[in-house]
């Protein structure tokens, strides 16, 4: 069961990573932010609400890093991290 939960979490994280790339075409920064904040960042919410934290905390951190990296990259016009 624990393995199943972790697998599901990893699958969602991978999907978030793919979908973040799809948002690159959005030129309006506010819309981009709202899509990331309310559509992608919240995708693990239900899973996190019903999953013991030790099983999924790494996956949460991974998704957080993806979201923040995307925001920083867009906000700095791809200059972030250079």
């Amino acid at each position: 069961m624990d393995a199943g939960i972790s697998t599901t979490g990893l699958r969602v994280a991978a999907a978030v990573q793919v979908d973040v790339g799809k948002l690159d075409m959005i030129s309006d920064g506010l819309i981009y932010y709202q899509m990331l904040c309310f559509c992608l960042n919240s995708r693990l919410a239900f899973l996190g609400r019903h999953t013991p934290i030790p099983l999924i905390s790494d996956i949460h951190s991974q998704v957080d890093a993806i979201i923040l990296e995307a925001l920083c990259r867009k906000g700095t016009t791809n200059a972030h991290g250079e």
């Binding site: 932010y33 904040c37 960042n41 996190g48 013991p52 934290i53 949460h60 957080d64 923040l68 925001l71």
Partner: protein, 183 residues
């Protein structure tokens, strides 16, 4: 990071999952424990929820909880106590008179609830029911005298906002950003 701070603290409000997961899991699990505690044992068996969610557990006996979900709930409770300045309320030691305002103090406008003499950016503690009393909150309320009332479980957004103020990576920011606009 500033991106992760709530709007009222000058951030962009991207509540990160590693933080919100603690409050979400805690609130959702406590709500279920409280509801199951409100049901009689026969009712729990009838709806079969307790046996599905936490098989073989006696919710009335916190010392013998071995189901993963209940152990995780206990860990989350412990984390909130030790790392995020939450306080336990117990029936033996009545809640302070300001217990309710302490919870409200974690609302998006803490300055409105704080005493005038409080430091500008003082953080109010969050009072919650003792872990061993979670399943019997209905009984606790009925045993209290007069107008006394046990604190209810704070909303998820209240706990999340409280966590954000104590989150380690936010500490260096909270001392630097201006909260003037939100106050």
């Amino acid at each position: 990071m500033k991106l992760q701070l709530p709007h009222f603290q000058g951030g962009f409000g991207v509540t990160f999952n590693a933080g919100s997961a603690i409050s979400a899991f805690y609130v959702a699990s406590v709500s279920l424990v409280q509801w199951l505690g409100f049901c009689s044992h026969s009712e729990q068996n009838f709806i079969d929820l307790a046996s599905t969610w936490a098989p073989g557990q006696d919710l009335a006996n916190p010392d013998q909880r071995t189901a993963l979900i209940l152990i995780a709930l206990k860990q989350a409770h412990h984390i909130l106590l030790t790392e995020f300045e939450c306080h336990e309320w117990s029936i033996d030691g009545p809640a302070p008179a300001s217990a309710v305002s302490q919870i409200e103090g974690s609302s998006p406008n803490p300055a409105a609830n704080a005493p005038q003499s409080a430091p500008r950016n003082a953080i109010s503690p969050l009072t919650r029911l003792r872990f061993t009393l979670l399943h019997s909150s209905q009984t606790v309320d009925s045993n209290l005298d007069g107008n006394a009332q046990a604190p209810s479980v704070p909303a998820q957004r209240v706990i999340t906002a409280h966590l954000m103020r104590f989150w380690p990576s936010h500490q260096y920011l909270l001392g630097d950003i201006s909260l003037t606009r939100s106050e």
